[in-house]
């Protein structure tokens, strides 16, 4: 069952931000929720958490409407991080855990464990504003998971972390997965999605453009990537005229091209040999999520298109 989102719509004034969005998150899975800025990720997350309501459609967790699910079941890490800056770390976390319905003793026990694991015991009596940024992130993460929620909804959990802290958090993240928690997270680091997620959805302008298992999404593309390097012909100009091949990158070390997934890539080897080429490298690859993302979401996120990123 898991989390089922069925045909939800949401408008703010005249602007429709979510259009007929449906998705399904299996219980216990890690689910990547992708989309460009302003695509409606935060709005959808808030609707899943029943902080705001969709205009139409239904969101349910194991069959029950999300408004009926106890608050303790939800853990939310908002994109904009926030804690009481002048409140002592320990008191703050205990307050939030108890607000979620935990008893004081249970919260204290959980807190001691996590402080040990995150190696921030020395900071428990400090005010949040006195902590380093990395430690603040850890505390923020604890604020999301300390009450032992069933479903974790995390908006950009790894943004702004140095590699060491990112690893610490990723381990905690995987441990939550190991405990059987359902995790929905959004990120712009698509390598992480490939590394962590079983399922994924990409939304654009409030609509789902592609979703499913990561493998299926890649196959759905209907294309394979071929990388070729010829020792005696670095440019391989004849590829441009070869039917069924689209060169996507010409790099010093190889040339990357897309072919229809139903075609046997051997025809490229045959063509290379017939052109007298000496093959140094020939490899088949699936398209990366980054490629798929850019293709669906458009050019707004391209690094070389600053016009779209007019912050």
């Amino acid at each position: 069952m898991g989390l089922v989102v069925e045909h939800i719509n949401k408008s703010f004034g005249p602007l429709q931000v979510i259009k007929d969005l449906s998705m399904e998150v299996r219980e216990g899975s890690i689910f990547g929720f992708l989309g460009a800025n302003g695509a409606g990720k935060t709005t959808t997350m808030r609707m899943i958490l029943d902080i705001i309501r969709p205009d139409s459609g239904r969101i349910s967790w194991n069959g029950a409407d999300v408004s009926q699910v106890p608050r303790k079941s939800w853990g939310y890490l908002p994109e904009e991080r926030g804690l009481y800056p002048k409140m002592v770390v320990e008191e703050q976390l205990l307050f939030l855990a108890r607000l979620y319905g935990m008893s004081k003793q249970a919260a204290q026990k959980e807190l001691d464990e996590w402080f040990e694991r995150f190696q921030i015991n020395a900071n428990r009596k400090k005010k949040v504003e006195e902590l380093s940024k990395g430690n603040q992130q850890k505390v923020q993460f604890l604020a999301t998971i300390m009450h032992d929620p069933q479903i974790l909804i995390m908006d950009e959990p790894f943004s702004g972390l140095d590699p060491v802290n990112a690893t610490v958090l990723k381990e905690a993240f995987l441990e939550m997965h190991g405990r059987g928690k359902t995790i929905i997270f959004s990120t712009h680091q698509l390598e992480q999605v490939e590394e962590l997620c079983e399922d994924v959805v990409i939304i654009n302008k409030g609509e789902s453009v592609v979703q499913g298992r990561v493998q299926d999404v890649k196959r759905q593309q209907g294309r394979n990537i071929v990388r070729l390097k010829l020792e005696n012909d670095p440019e391989v100009r004849w590829l441009d005229t070869l039917e069924g091949v689209q060169v996507t990158k010409r790099r010093q070390d190889y040339i990357e091209m897309q072919i229809q997934s139903d075609r046997n890539p051997n025809f490229i080897v045959e063509a290379a040999l017939s052109h007298g080429g000496i093959i140094n490298r020939f490899e088949l690859a699936e398209p990366s999520l980054t490629d798929i993302f850019i293709e669906y979401v458009g050019r707004i996120a391209l690094p070389d298109a600053p016009a779209a990123v007019n912050a």
């Binding site: 705001i52 309501r53 608050r71 939310y76 908002p78 926030g82 939030l96 979620y100 996120a301």
Partner: protein, 480 residues
């Protein structure tokens, strides 16, 4: 793909895209609601009373109240210290005056002078007199004493040819240049009294007949316009002092703690912890917890100040007894005379006024993006509150005028204006009751509207909505 190329700050997202009405309300069970509200109250209360500014302001206000209540006693102490009994030398060359002579004459003049003190000299100056008599042979000697200042006043009695009394008053100071010295008029009053008694006794009247001759007629003044105030002068003075201290305290505290509510909401919004809070608790729980928690801190401070105030006022009478031998005389505020109702009303109006204004402050706090915008956002509320504050000070000259009575019943102004009317003794019991009922009704109404604005505002990071939009939200916001 580098991550920073994708994380575009969401600055150009249209305002309405960010504006959201937080839905979660109503589903929470009563038990959950009470639990969460008390958790939030606990956090807010602890957060506030542990702030240094709270401790300092409480200490400073306590000190001011203690100083304020001791000042009249201290002034009285210094004033009485400077006025030792004034010595008056008396030389009687007139023989028996109205049957009085020697020691009995001295006694009559002494009691006459000291007995008239409070009426003639007024409260506060409390001068006293001792009389020492001498014979006419001592006249040059005593005159010398008057000249060098060791004897302040010398009074000489003679009879002229028609047996009329003649008084001569010797003094080293010029009475006309010393306005505060009431010795001369007091002595003059006694002299004319003696003269009249002397004349009537020579005409054959008994002292009783003489005194009945001079008894003033019974003359009662009844003002049909005013509400009858049966309270004593002391009670009335104490009443207005408590009322004014109460008005100032109420005004300051409601403003200070209301501002605290607005700042607190804006802080939660500005630091974005609001996003976590609305996931854990409902907006209603957050709003109620914040208002009640900060209100409890305010009540703690108010309570401490009131206790210190009452304690130091109660200390005044024992202190006066110790300093002056008796608590009578001088300016005397008897706290026990002040009706308990008035003190209770100060607290009642503080609580109601705070609840009324706090929800408005919270709504304003929810509409701003950052804490530093709060000051501007709450200006309309400040103005609204100030009106009542000023009316309570100007209205005192005519506290039973129709317009003041109406203003006192308007909930936003009741805490200050009605308190003033109660203090001046012009408020009827039914008016106080009605004002409380109206305030409670207004609290429900305002909290309802504020809660809607709050729910709309807490997750809104776009443009501040226009007044018309707000009115629409307040009218139409449904549970979803």
């Amino acid at each position: 793909m580098a991550k920073d190329t994708l994380t575009t700050p969401e600055v150009d997202v249209p305002a309405q895209q960010q504006s959201t009405i937080v839905a979660r309300s109503g589903e929470a069970s009563l038990q959950n609601t009470l639990r969460n509200i008390s958790l939030i109250i606990g956090r807010e209360y602890k957060n506030r009373v542990s702030q240094r500014s709270f401790k300092i302001s409480t200490a400073v206000l306590m000190l001011l109240i203690i100083i304020g209540s001791f000042v009249p006693t201290i002034i009285q102490f210094f004033a009485s210290g400077s006025s030792l009994p004034t010595k008056i030398g008396l030389i009687n060359n007139a023989g028996a005056v109205a049957g009085l002579q020697g020691a009995s004459l001295n006694h009559f003049i002494e009691t006459g002078l000291n007995g008239t003190t409070s009426q003639a000299a007024g409260a506060g100056s409390g001068s006293r007199f001792t009389i020492s008599s001498g014979s006419s042979a001592n006249l040059p000697d005593l005159l010398k004493q008057v000249k060098n200042g060791s004897l302040p006043v010398l009074l000489v009695l003679n009879r002229n040819g028609e047996q009329q009394l003649q008084f001569t008053y010797y003094s080293a100071s010029d009475p006309s240049s010393n306005a505060t010295d009431t010795t001369l008029p007091q002595v003059q009053a006694i002299a004319s009294q003696l003269s009249t008694m002397d004349k009537s006794s020579r005409l054959g009247l008994t002292p009783t007949q003489t005194s009945s001759l001079f008894t003033p007629p019974s003359f009662a003044v009844v003002n049909t316009q005013q509400v009858q105030d049966h309270r004593s002068v002391g009670e009335r003075v104490a009443g207005s002092i408590i009322a004014y201290a109460g008005i100032i305290l109420i005004f300051m505290s409601i403003f200070m703690y209301g501002m605290g509510v607005a700042m607190g909401v804006a802080e939660e919004k500005g630091t974005r912890i609001m996003e976590i809070l609305v996931n854990a608790a409902t907006p209603f729980q957050l709003l109620a917890g914040k208002i009640l928690g900060i209100g409890a801190a305010g009540l703690t401070q108010m309570g401490a100040l009131v206790v210190v105030g009452i304690a130091s006022l109660l200390l005044q009478n024992p202190l006066k007894t110790a300093l002056f031998g008796s608590s009578s005389g001088g300016f005397n505020v008897d706290i026990t005379v002040v009706s308990v109702t008035l003190l209770a009303l100060v607290l009642v109006y503080f609580i109601l006024g705070f609840l009324l204004y706090a929800s408005l402050f919270a709504a304003m706090g929810a509409l701003v993006k950052r804490q530093d915008e709060v000051q501007n956002a709450v200006t309309p509320i400040t103005w609204l509150f100030m009106v009542g504050y000023f009316v309570s000070f100007f209205g005192i000259y005519d506290s039973s005028a129709t317009w003041v009575r109406i203003v006192a019943l308007i909930p936003f102004w009741t805490p200050t204006v009605m308190l003033m009317r109660v203090g001046t003794g012009t408020a009827a019991g039914w008016e106080i009751g009605l004002s409380i009922v109206l305030m409670i009704a207004a609290i429900f109404f305002c909290t309802l509207i504020s809660a809607r604005i709050y729910r709309f505002g807490i997750l809104m990071y776009g443009q501040k909505p226009k007044l018309r939009q707000l009115a629409k939200i307040a009218r139409s916001a449904k549970a979803n």
